[in-house]
Amino acid sequence: MISIKKLSIAFLICCCCCANGAHASSIAFSEEQLFIVKKQNMGKQWLMLLWSVDCPPCFKELAIIQKLQSQHDNLAVVVINTDADDDITKERIDIIKKFELGKLSHYHFIDGQSDQSRYIIDSNWYGELPRSYFFESNGEFHGKSGLVDEVILTHWLVL
């Protein structure tokens, strides 16, 4: 009796915690997930930003997104971590928290699937970071490697 009560309470707490932390969650990246996110964003202009914990310039782009997000609601940005390493899960989550980007949609490459995941997105991309994909409302996109200027990001996402 006691154990079932305890179990019920534990389950309740667990679920509430999960719900509260919903915004900070990350989804394991896959071809299916990419299809879904592209479909969801069809009809609008959006940005897919890929980053790694080992990439200092990526942090600068995350900081720009953080700034834009503080000024504008519903920023159409999807953030994907490319480390493909379960060992850095906490580090990845901490960084997203630090930049207060939990409200955005987050994905991460599955452990050991870095190149496979990269190839799914763009077979002409070699893994250099940060990598930004500018999606147009009709689904067409182009990629750019390296830190993107704040003016360009603002123009793409806000104006």
Binding site: L12, C15, C55, P57, A76, D87
Partner: protein, 414 residues
């Protein structure tokens, strides 16, 4: 009991509804939010090499092949007396546990002298993001015991020091180069703009009781996330090859040779001219090998406006002039991560390609000092991931070392 289970089910149902409601609110707030799913952090508790992200290999002067890897803050090594067919029992390096950078371009290094000396160097992350120290330990009894690890960089700053490379002469002269952020740290403190890291060299000799590493800057404004490469030329001068930042974030490879005359200012030459403009991290360093006739052979990877893919070139005057770069591998097949080594007039180049599902290890050889190359040959395949490949040398035979994540470490004669 039935009532209790029913109560539990009711709690679960109510909680699920609450969760759904909260999630719905989240989705409404941001319609891009998706179902919650988080892959649990994999805890590779094992000590086996297959769990490691990187493997470092080198032949010792007596012909033993050593391989080195790290897991859970411990360095492990094995030896092979038959060029990698079989290995000795795994042993841990007898130093205190500490974090060791071993991913992609960053990995521990191992070298030897001719007196049973074993030299280890690695980067250890510090408490703040993008800060690390270059560390070092020495064994004078062929790995049975090691000295207490010391820090090579001498600035006592909580800033970046990593991507260490190490060479040791037969007599125990240690040269460690690394990417160092102390200059950037100071400039930022002064409110000044800066870009990239600096290239530093540290020297010591434990056999001569020179156990404190010198620290000397060699170049400023280097790329911050690509490995360095180095080799001795025929005058026992150290040549260092790295990715530099030119102008407005043009990331090209540079080469300098450290003269025996320590007062001479090293003169770096720009080696690649592919015009890769990127304010970011290529995560791909190059490789250099200097052969018996003092010709410098180099490979690199770029994605510039003027050159994309892997390139090979050589120089007879320490990089001042260069042969016309030759394209290596298939660019459209994701050719990347080249490494090379020389053996007389033989030049071996290895690299990886990617099919979308499998990694491939490729090899190409020149028998005429790089003037021409044989057709590329597929050596091996990996289905679960790929570390960078490296060529190591024993006598006049070259071997490729390629760690395949969760699959195993391959050593194969070329």
């Amino acid at each position: 009991m039935l009532i209790m289970i029913r109560t539990l089910l009711q709690v679960i149902t109510i909680t699920s509804l609450m969760l759904t409601a909260t999630l719905t609110a989240a989705v409404e707030h941001n319609h891009q939010a998706m179902a919650l799913k988080e892959v649990q952090a994999g805890n590779c508790e094992k000590t086996e090499i297959t769990c490691a992200k990187t493997v470092t290999t080198a032949f010792s002067p007596n012909g033993d092949l050593w391989r080195l890897w790290t897991l859970n803050s411990i360095l492990y090594f094995q030896m092979s007396a038959d060029n990698g067919l079989t290995f000795s029992t795994r042993r841990s390096v007898g130093i205190d546990k500490e974090k060791i950078s071993a991913r992609n371009e960053n990995r521990p290094k191992i070298a030897f002298d001719k007196y049973q000396g074993v030299y280890l160097s690695w980067a250890t992350p510090r408490e703040k993001k993008y800060t690390a120290d270059v560390r070092f330990a020495y064994s004078n009894d062929y790995g049975k015991t090691f000295t207490k690890a010391i820090t090579v960089n001498n600035d006592n700053l909580l800033t970046g020091h990593s991507f260490n490379e190490m060479l040791v002469t037969d007599d125990g002269d240690i040269s460690i180069v690394w990417l160092d952020s102390r200059l950037a740290y100071q400039l930022r403190k002064e409110g000044k703009q800066t870009n990239g890291s600096a290239l530093y060299i540290g020297k010591a000799n434990y056999r001569k009781n020179q156990t404190t590493f010198s620290n000397q800057p060699l170049a400023n404004n280097t790329c911050v996330c690509c490995r360095i490469a180095m080799d001795f030329n025929n005058n026992n001068e150290l040549a260092v090859f790295w990715r530099h930042i030119y102008g407005d974030n043009i990331r090209e490879f540079a080469l300098l040779t450290l003269s025996q005359d320590e007062n001479a200012q090293p003169l770096p030459y720009q080696v690649s001219h592919d015009h890769w403009q990127i304010n970011g991290c290529p995560h791909q360093g190059g490789a250099i090998s200097i052969n018996d006739n003092n010709r410098y052979h180099m490979v690199w990877f770029n994605q510039g406006d003027l050159g994309k893919g892997i390139f090979y070139a050589s120089s007879s005057d320490q990089g001042k002039t260069l042969t016309q770069p030759i394209s290596v591998g298939v660019q459209s097949a994701q050719a990347a991560y080249p490494h090379l080594n020389t053996n007389g007039n033989k030049i071996d180049i290895v690299w990886t390609q990617f099919t979308g599902t499998e990694h491939e290890l490729w090899h190409q050889r020149s028998n005429d000092n790089g003037k021409s190359f044989s057709a590329a040959e597929l050596l091996a395949i990996s289905s679960k991931g790929s570390d960078r490949p490296f060529i190591i040398k024993k006598g006049n035979v070259s071997y490729v070392s390629w760690h395949r994540l969760k699959q195993g470490h391959l050593v194969q004669a070329l």
